[in-house]
């Protein structure tokens, strides 16, 4: 009896943990399971199993185009955000520049502004400068959103960089540009690769900003949203499962990279 009471807090903690895991994984598992169902509607029981939905998705031109479009937007915004974020991080650690805290705060702002607000303000912004909605606007929105993450990751790495490295490069004849590209950038590489993968995921995942800034061409989340509105079908489950698997793999790889960078 005494033992049971002594173990009660522990037992309940473990129970909560498993319940949470179930809550986290059950919807995903259900979604994946349904994508293999050989019927036209999403509901239990699953009588027959099939891979037909995947075959269908892979031949769905709309889906493939949306994938390509999303990847293109992700690539462009990632490139822009990484360049911008690295530059801002360099500015923040540079000597003799005033207001570095303000720069840092401003750079981080987009990460804490609610997505909705940032989407609306971006929309208002592009219409004031007469920029049409569409690809460029989406890239702009995604870039603004991703910059803070690059800044923080690059900054963390920069702060751990021995100050003498750049001095040594300068001493051996490098001007500041050469020193940046041959010493600082390679040093930042692991952090930047991790940051870039994170940017890609943020961009592919983004719905609100894309919705406000986009034109007629749907990105992946927009396409799936449109399809869901047309009624659930295991085909959507198959699409979502594919996206889930690919992004999870990429995300895990990014985590692995940042971990390795930290232990080096």
């Amino acid at each position: 009896m005494r033992n049971m009471f002594a173990d009660a807090p522990r037992t309940s903690l473990t129970a909560i943990y498993w319940a949470f895991l179930l809550y986290l994984l059950l919807p995903l598992t259900l979604m994946m399971a349904m994508s293999f169902k050989d019927a036209n509607f999403v509901a239990f029981p699953i009588g027959e199993w099939t891979l037909d939905w995947y075959a269908k998705v892979m031949q769905d031109k709309q889906f493939l185009e949306a994938c390509l479009y999303s990847v293109m937007i992700a690539a462009c915004s990632t490139l822009a955000a990484t360049t911008l974020g690295t530059w801002i991080a360099m500015l923040i650690v540079a000597e003799g520049i005033k207001g570095q805290i303000i720069i840092f705060a401003l750079a981080c702002l987009p990460a804490v502004v609610p997505g909705m607000i940032s989407a609306i303000s971006l929309r208002i912004f592009i219409s004031t400068i007469d920029m049409p909605t569409g690809t460029a606007a989406i890239i702009l929105g995604h870039t603004v959103h991703a910059v803070p993450f690059v800044v923080v990751m690059a900054l963390t790495r920069l702060r751990s960089m021995p100050g003498n490295l750049v001095d040594a490069a300068r001493d051996l004849g490098a001007d500041s540009v050469v020193a940046f590209f041959r010493v600082t950038l390679p040093y930042l590489k692991p952090a930047l690769v991790g940051g870039m993968i994170f940017c890609v995921l943020l961009s592919i995942d983004d719905f609100v900003r894309t919705f406000f800034l986009g034109g007629y061409r749907p990105t992946l989340p927009m396409l799936i949203f449109a399809k869901v509105q047309g009624g659930m079908s295991p085909e959507i489950n198959a699409m979502a499962t594919l996206v889930l698997v690919v992004t999870a793999a990429v995300g895990l790889y990014a985590e692995y990279l940042t971990r390795r960078a930290r232990t080096r």
């Binding site: 490069a169 300068r170 051996l172 004849g173 390679p186």
Partner: protein, 361 residues
């Protein structure tokens, strides 16, 4: 001959704090010159000004006769070996060494040859492809040295490069550094706060204190004829006997110290009776005996501490009114124990005198 490096009245301050004050220093080509001084005396600042990483507030720095005071580091023909080596972590040993050569625009073949030649000089041929993180402390040290030597600088600057190594390795590297300097014939400007390191390697030692040069000379002179109390205390162990001049006779002065009269070589000073002087008495110049010595300076005392140190014994002898003299003697020469009486003696010519700057007489 034209000096390679000249500091011409150089002053550098940070805010109100003056780090280096009116530094005048000429360095001859091919010499191993050491800046020696306590922490914060401006050694690194002087070196960094020569490297181009700090700009003096006033004065000029000349390199090979040319004014480089405002020339950026990448346009100066000097290279630094940093205290923490600052090897590029993502480049192999060979790439690190090649860095300066590539920036000089040498062709690949010549770079390859030069890198191998330098690796051979420090026996690291087999490590060319390793990353710095895969080397030992001593090996990193050598790579940093070769990287800095590779572009053939006019002067090699070394900022406490040995301080990260353990005692044994440090001694080994001191010898190696000196031999590399001799082999290459380069001018080395070395910074340290370790007097032993300075004495071991240098042709010239520049003792700095609070941003100024206190004294400059070869190790022998600095040890044997320190010009100030600071130098005498900083280089080696010493007994400083504060005494008053009684009279002079030729090159020797008679001084009153501790109730007795001692003689000392004047060492270029012209003291008058009544002046206060410090006599610099090195511990190894002292002889101890049971019987009163027949000549030279002598005083009777009691042994207070006796420490056996293998090849010598260190004694603290109390003389007169509680003054302690430290002596280094051969273990078999002194058999007396703590508390026993002993005669302390030394030859006048083994000492030197320093004026007492703070005396008001």
């Amino acid at each position: 001959m034209q000096p390679v490096v000249q500091f011409d009245n150089v002053t550098k301050s940070y805010g109100k704090h003056v780090a280096v004050e009116n530094l005048n220093l000429s360095i001859e080509a091919g010499k191993f010159v050491t800046l020696l001084g306590p922490s914060g005396c401006g050694k690194s600042t002087s070196l960094r000004m020569l490297g181009g990483f700090e700009t003096p507030n006033s004065g000029r720095i000349l390199l090979g006769g040319k004014d480089v005071t405002r020339v950026p580091p990448n346009k100066r023909n000097v290279n630094i070996v940093f205290q923490d080596y600052a090897l590029f972590p993502h480049m192999s040993v060979a790439k690190n060494i090649a860095f300066g050569l590539e920036l000089k625009g040498l062709d690949n073949q010549r770079i390859h040859r030069r890198v191998n030649e330098l690796l051979e000089l420090v026996q690291l041929q087999d490590y060319a492809k390793r990353l710095p993180s895969e080397l030992s402390g001593g090996q990193r040290q050598r790579v940093a040295l070769m990287r800095a030597l590779a572009p053939d600088p006019e002067v090699l600057l070394l900022d406490e490069p040995l301080s990260a190594l353990d005692a044994k390795l440090r001694q080994q590297m001191q010898i190696e550094l000196k031999s590399i300097q001799e082999k290459t014939g380069k001018t080395f400007m070395f910074v340290t706060h370790d007097q032993e390191e300075a004495l071991t390697m240098s042709d010239t030692i520049v003792v700095m204190n609070k941003g100024k040069i206190e004294q400059m000379g070869d190790p022998n002179t600095l040890y044997g004829r320190p010009g100030s109390v600071f130098v005498a205390n900083f280089i080696g162990e010493t007994n400083l006997l504060r005494s008053t001049v009684v009279g002079t006779e030729g090159e020797t002065a008679a001084l009153s110290w501790n109730g007795i009269t001692i003689k000392a070589a004047q060492g270029g000073l012209t003291p008058k009776a009544g002046d206060h002087l410090y006599v610099v008495l090195r511990p190894e110049a002292i002889h101890c005996s049971a019987a009163e010595p027949t000549s030279g300076n002598r005083i009777k005392g009691k042994i207070r501490h006796r420490v056996f140190k293998g090849n010598h014994t260190s004694l603290s002898v109390e003389v007169g009114d509680g003054t302690m003299l430290n002596a280094l003697v051969h273990p078999s020469d002194v058999t007396q124990l703590n508390g026993e009486d002993i005669w302390v003696g030394w030859k006048p010519e083994t000492t030197t005198v320093i004026p007492d700057r703070h005396a008001h007489n």
